[in-house]
C-alpha cells in the first residue's frame, strides 16, 4: 500500500496541476488534450531512447497502427470506442511482439532506419493496399458512429478531456512503477553496459523485447486516443516525416526520466504553438533548442530540474555523499 502511494503521488500531483490549468485557461482545452495524448506517445519513445538507448525513426508507424485499429473498428465493425481502444492495445502488443525479435538484434542506426522503412511501408499499406478499407488519403470519418459509453460521454470534448486525463494518470502511474521496478533498472543497466548485464546472467534480448513491446503498446494507445479525439484519421498521422517530433520532445524533456516526456511535450507543443504564431516555422527554434539541450543540458528539462531539486531539498545523506564525490573529483 505504501508503495502504491509512493508511486502515484507524483503523477496525481501533476494531473491535479493539469486540471487546475484547464480551469484557469478554459480556451486552452484542446491544447491540454493533445498534451496528454502526445505525452503517452513520447513516453513510449522514452522507453526506447531514454531507457534502452535505441533511436527509432519510425515511431509514427506504431502510432498509426493504434489509430487505424480503432478507426477501422469504429468505421466498419462496431460502435463502442472502448472496444476500439482495447483492439488498439492488442494490435500494439502483437506488432511489438512480432517485429521485436527481428529489429532489436540490430544496433545503432540500423535499428533507426529499419523503423523508418517500416514506417514508410506501413504508410504505403494504409494508403494504397488497404484502400477499400481505409479510403486512402481521404481518411476515415466515424464520429457519428461512435456510441455512448457508461459514465462519460466521450463524444463531447470536455468529457473526453476527463477521459484522456484519466488514461494519462493511469499510464503515468504504471510508468512510474516501471521506472522504480527491477525492469526499469535493467533497462538503464542495458543502456550503460550491456555485456556486464549479460555476464550477470540477465537475458538482455528478452528485456529489450519487453521494452520494444511496451513502447509499441504506448504508441498504439496514444494513436487510439488521437483517433477517438478527432473522430477521423488519415495517413498523415503515420508519415515518416513526423518521426522527428517525438524524438525531439523526448530529448527536450529529459531522456530516461518519468516526468520528462510530459515536460518535453509541453515544451515542444508550446514552442510549436508559440513560434508558429510569429514566424510559422517551428523547425528552426526546435532545432536550436535540441542542439542546446544536447550540448549544454544533456539531461533535458526535467532531468535538470530534478538534479537541482535533489541538490536543494534532497535527503541529507544523499547530498553529503554527492558532495564527497564532487570534492573527490575536484581534487
Amino acid at each position: 500500500m505504501n508503495r502504491i502511494l509512493k508511486v502515484s503521488y507524483g503523477p496525481a500531483l501533476l494531473v491535479f496541476l493539469i486540471l487546475m490549468a484547464r480551469f484557469t485557461f478554459p480556451n486552452k482545452m484542446t491544447f491540454i488534450i493533445e498534451l496528454a495524448i502526445f505525452s503517452i506517445y513520447v513516453m513510449g519513445n522514452n522507453i526506447l531512447y531514454g531507457y534502452l538507448g535505441m533511436v527509432s525513426f519510425g515511431q509514427p508507424f506504431y502510432l498509426g497502427v493504434g489509430a487505424y485499429a480503432t478507426a477501422i473498428f469504429l468505421a466498419h465493425v462496431g460502435t463502442n470506442p472502448l472496444v476500439g481502444m482495447l483492439l488498439s492495445l492488442l494490435m500494439g502488443l502483437v506488432v511489438g511482439l512480432i517485429l521485436g525479435p527481428a529489429f532489436i538484434r540490430l544496433r545503432g542506426d540500423y535499428f533507426a532506419l529499419i523503423n523508418a522503412a517500416t514506417c514508410a511501408i506501413g504508410m504505403f499499406t494504409i494508403e494504397k493496399l488497404l484502400l477499400p478499407i481505409t479510403r486512402g488519403d481521404d481518411g476515415l470519418w466515424y464520429r457519428a458512429r461512435m456510441s455512448q459509453i457508461p459514465f462519460v460521454d466521450i463524444r463531447m470534448p470536455d468529457k473526453f478531456f476527463l477521459f484522456a486525463l484519466a488514461i494519462f494518470l493511469i499510464v503515468l502511474i504504471l510508468y512510474n512503477f516501471m521506472d522504480k521496478s527491477a525492469l526499469g533498472s535493467s533497462f538503464r543497466a542495458i543502456r550503460v553496459n550491456e555485456s556486464k548485464m549479460k555476464f550477470l546472467g540477465y537475458d538482455t534480448f528478452k528485456i529489450r523485447w519487453i521494452g520494444f513491446t511496451l513502447a509499441s503498446i504506448l504508441s498504439a494507445l496514444s494513436g487510439s486516443l488521437y483517433a477517438i479525439n478527432f473522430g477521423f484519421v488519415n495517413p498523415s498521422l503515420a508519415e515518416p516525416h513526423r518521426a522527428a517530433e517525438v524524438l525531439v520532445a523526448t530529448l527536450i524533456g529529459g531522456a530516461g526520466t518519468v516526468f520528462g516526456p510530459f515536460f518535453g511535450t509541453l515544451a515542444f507543443l508550446g514552442i510549436k504553438d508559440l513560434v508558429s504564431q510569429y514566424i510559422a516555422h517551428w523547425e528552426l527554434a526546435v532545432g536550436i533548442l535540441t542542439l542546446l539541450v544536447l550540448f549544454r543540458f544533456s539531461k533535458g528539462i526535467w532531468g535538470n530540474t530534478e538534479a537541482i531539486m535533489n541538490e536543494k531539498f534532497g535527503k541529507k545523506r544523499n547530498r553529503s555523499v554527492k558532495k564527497l564525490l564532487t570534492d573527490k573529483a575536484a581534487t
Binding site: G53, V55, A102, R105, L106, R107, G108, D109, Y110, A112, L113, I114, A116, A117, T118, A120, I121, F124, E127, K128, P240, H241, A244, L247, V248, L251, I279, A280, H281, W282, E283, L284, A285, V286, G287, I288, T290, L291, L294, F295
Partner: protein, 293 residues
C-alpha cells in the same frame, strides 16, 4: 508491361542513380572516415536546389545556378564541420545522429525562413529530346548521367592519385595511424566534408528541375540516400555507385510497373537488406556496425 515502356524507364532510372550517387556519397564517406552519421547532408542538397532556383529566376542561367549551388553547399559544409561536428567526433553514433538531425531541422527552418513554404518550380535548361535506341530521351537526363559519371571518375582519380586522396583512404582504414604518420587528420576531415557537401549541393541543383523544390525535399531524399548507402555498404565508394545504380532502377522500373511502387519499393529493398545482409554489398565486415553478436 510492354517493352516500349521498359527502355525509357531504364534510362530514367540511370539519371535517378546519378542524383542518388552524388547525394549519398557524403553520408558514406562521413561514416567511413569520421565515424559519424551525417543526417544533415540533405541540408546541402536542399540549399543546392534552392540556389539553382534563385539563380535561374534571377539571371536565367542554369550553369550559374549549379555553380552557386556547389559553392553555397560547400561553404555551409565548411561552417558546420568546423563549428559543430568537430565536437562530436569520437562520440557515440547515436549522439552524432541526433546532433546532425537537429542541424538538419535548423537548415529546414532557415530555408523556410528565406524562401517560404510553397514549392518553387525550376524549369529545365534544355528541352531537346534525343533519340536513343528508338526512344526519345530528354537531353537533361543524359546530362545528369554524364555529370555523375564524370564525378565518379574524378573522385576515383583523386582517391588513387593524389596524396590527400591516399590519406583519406588510409583514414578510412585507420585514422589513428594516419595521425601517427604526421598527417593532420582534422584537416583531411574538413577537406572531405567540404567536397562531400559540395557534391550534395551539385546533386540538389541538378535535381531541382526534376522535382519540386520545397523545404521538405530533403526528407524524402534523406531516406533514399540512406537506403543507397546501406545497400552499398557504409564507407565504400564503389558500393555506393553500384547501389545507386540498383536503386535508380528499382525506383524507375518499379514506378513504371505500378506508380506507388516508386516510393515504397526502395523501403522494401532496405527492409530486406537490413534484415538479411546488414553489411550491404561492399561493406566492411566485422563488428563495425549492425550485428554485434
Amino acid at each position: 508491361m510492354n517493352i516500349d515502356l521498359l527502355l525509357p524507364a531504364i534510362f530514367f532510372g540511370l539519371s535517378v542513380s546519378g542524383i542518388l550517387f552524388l547525394v549519398s556519397l557524403g553520408i558514406s564517406i562521413g561514416f567511413g572516415l569520421m565515424r559519424i552519421i551525417n543526417m544533415e547532408q540533405m541540408v546541402y542538397y536542399t540549399f543546392g536546389a534552392y540556389m539553382a532556383y534563385t539563380m535561374v529566376s534571377a539571371t536565367g542561367s542554369f550553369l550559374l545556378g549549379i555553380i552557386a549551388g556547389i559553392l553555397v553547399a560547400a561553404f555551409l559544409g565548411f561552417l558546420v564541420e568546423t563549428q559543430l561536428l568537430r565536437r562530436v567526433y569520437g562520440k557515440e553514433l547515436m549522439f552524432t545522429m541526433v546532433v546532425t538531425f537537429s542541424v538538419f531541422l535548423i537548415g529546414i527552418g532557415i530555408i523556410q525562413y528565406t524562401w517560404g513554404l510553397d514549392p518553387k518550380p525550376v524549369s529545365s535548361p534544355f528541352h531537346t529530346m534525343i533519340p536513343i535506341l528508338g526512344v526519345q530521351m530528354p537531353l537533361y537526363r543524359l546530362f545528369i548521367i554524364a555529370i555523375a559519371f564524370v564525378v565518379y571518375v574524378l573522385i576515383q582519380l583523386m582517391l588513387n592519385k593524389t596524396i590527400i586522396g591516399k590519406a583519406i583512404r588510409a583514414g578510412i582504414e585507420n585514422p589513428d595511424q594516419v595521425q601517427g604518420l604526421g598527417i593532420n587528420i582534422r584537416r583531411i576531415f574538413t577537406v572531405t566534408f567540404v567536397v562531400a557537401s559540395g557534391l550534395a549541393g551539385l546533386g540538389g541543383s541538378l535535381n531541382a528541375p526534376l522535382t519540386m523544390t520545397g523545404p521538405y525535399m530533403g526528407f524524402d531524399m534523406l531516406l533514399f540516400a540512406f537506403i543507397t548507402v546501406i545497400l552499398g555498404g557504409l564507407g565504400s565508394i564503389k558500393g555506393t555507385l553500384v547501389s545507386a545504380l540498383i536503386m535508380g532502377q528499382v525506383i524507375s522500373v518499379g514506378g513504371t510497373i505500378w506508380s506507388p511502387l516508386a516510393f515504397v519499393a526502395p523501403f522494401i529493398v532496405m527492409f530486406c537488406v537490413i534484415l538479411w545482409r546488414p553489411t550491404g554489398l561492399f561493406g566492411v565486415t566485422g563488428k563495425a556496425f549492425g550485428f554485434q553478436e
